[in-house]
């Protein structure tokens, strides 16, 4: 756990601050406890360690948000979500690079919907309210975006298998 904390503390801290700017410390603790409990489920053939950790962090943060039933975004939403600069992640994993490529190819409104849903934990309704996009459009954008990333990741795994 000490190694995991040392290696991924920046990533988990940054993700937690995105979802819960005012309560990130509590969230980080819960995420690392979840990681410890879920460690045996990690399968390197399914995802990289970095993405697995981000997945567990997202689950915990979404659970926390839903259980508190509060608005997910307490910080201003950027019009154009920016992709992380290369080298910012603790391990520049192939999945993140592939996801960045897919996001980069999406139209700005599509990318915004996907990022708000996946990286800020906003519901479809909250995104529609925040952006002014019709609910159906938000759902379609999120779904197509995620399926496009999924398809791209499937290609990454086949290449590395």
């Amino acid at each position: 756990m000490r190694d995991c904390l040392a290696r991924y503390r920046g990533l988990v801290w940054s993700i937690a601050r995105r979802f819960e700017p005012s309560d990130a410390e509590d969230a980080v603790q819960e995420i690392f406890v979840d990681l410890w409990k879920s460690a045996a489920r990690y399968d390197a053939s399914v995802a990289s360690e970095t993405v697995f950790i981000a997945m567990i962090a997202r689950r915990r943060l979404i659970d926390r948000r839903r259980s508190r039933d509060r608005r997910p975004v307490t910080e201003p939403i950027a019009d154009e979500p920016q992709l992380a600069a290369a080298g910012n992640a603790p391990d520049t994993c192939a999945e993140a690079s592939q996801a960045a490529r897919v996001l980069d190819q999406l139209r700005p409104d599509q990318r915004r919907a996907v990022v708000l849903a996946t990286c800020h934990g906003m519901s479809h309704g909250e995104i529609a309210e925040a952006t002014g996009m019709p609910l159906g459009t938000v759902k379609a954008h999120v779904r197509r975006g995620l399926m496009a990333i999924r398809a791209a990741l499937s290609g990454v795994r086949e290449e590395t298998a």
Binding site: L11, A54, I62, T118, R150, L153, R157
Partner: protein
Amino acid sequence: MKTHVLMHPRAEELLVERALRPLTAAEQAELAALGVDVDDDSIEIAAAAALVATTHVEPMPDEVLDRVAARIAGALDGPPVIPIDRARRRARWLVAIAAAAGIVIVIGLYARRGELAPADARAALIGDGSRALPWTATADTAAKSASGDVVWSDVKQRGYMRFVGLAVNDPTAWQYQLWIFDRTRDQAYPVDGGVFDVSSTGEVIVPISAKLHVDQATLFAVTVERPGGVVVSKRERIVVMAKPS
């Protein structure tokens, strides 16, 4: 990870939802009924990859690290020892429990809301302007003397099938399944309108349970399928059809 080239649209929709929020018990039951591998985390992994791709990593302050490390040490008790197969079994049990809970919830909601009986709800739908389209029976043995109609509202996304003389089925051997062809969708993949049983050759009214939104229904067809229904019908046994004029 399993690579699914094709996925049932409703299963895809539910898996995307699951990557964004916890599913309700009824949705988990629906997902299980669609035959989806409950361990398929591929869409959640896609969301996590997007999260990593868009996260600017900042260092955790040292004082926060010290506090978090101390709290984690206190919270943990023993090593993580959940073998993956046991964890998966547990997930399947959870789905089974959720499915049962979903059924109870649906029954409870139906009773609590005091909804109309299907015959009255069908009559109300016709009263609101929806047309009853007569079934045309095929030569299939189950449809020999079948008649009746189907009422559907694209606006309300509700409808009812009425049958008289449709063969009683043995649910352990085969079931009926409704398909709704939508003008806005690929005609090769009609919307699943629900699996149902017929327990009497007298008048039977069956609520339609469309699994996807139907923008403009152009044809209704009932097929005979294996117990539980299918995702895509081979259309080997079509028993009745109805089409708006």
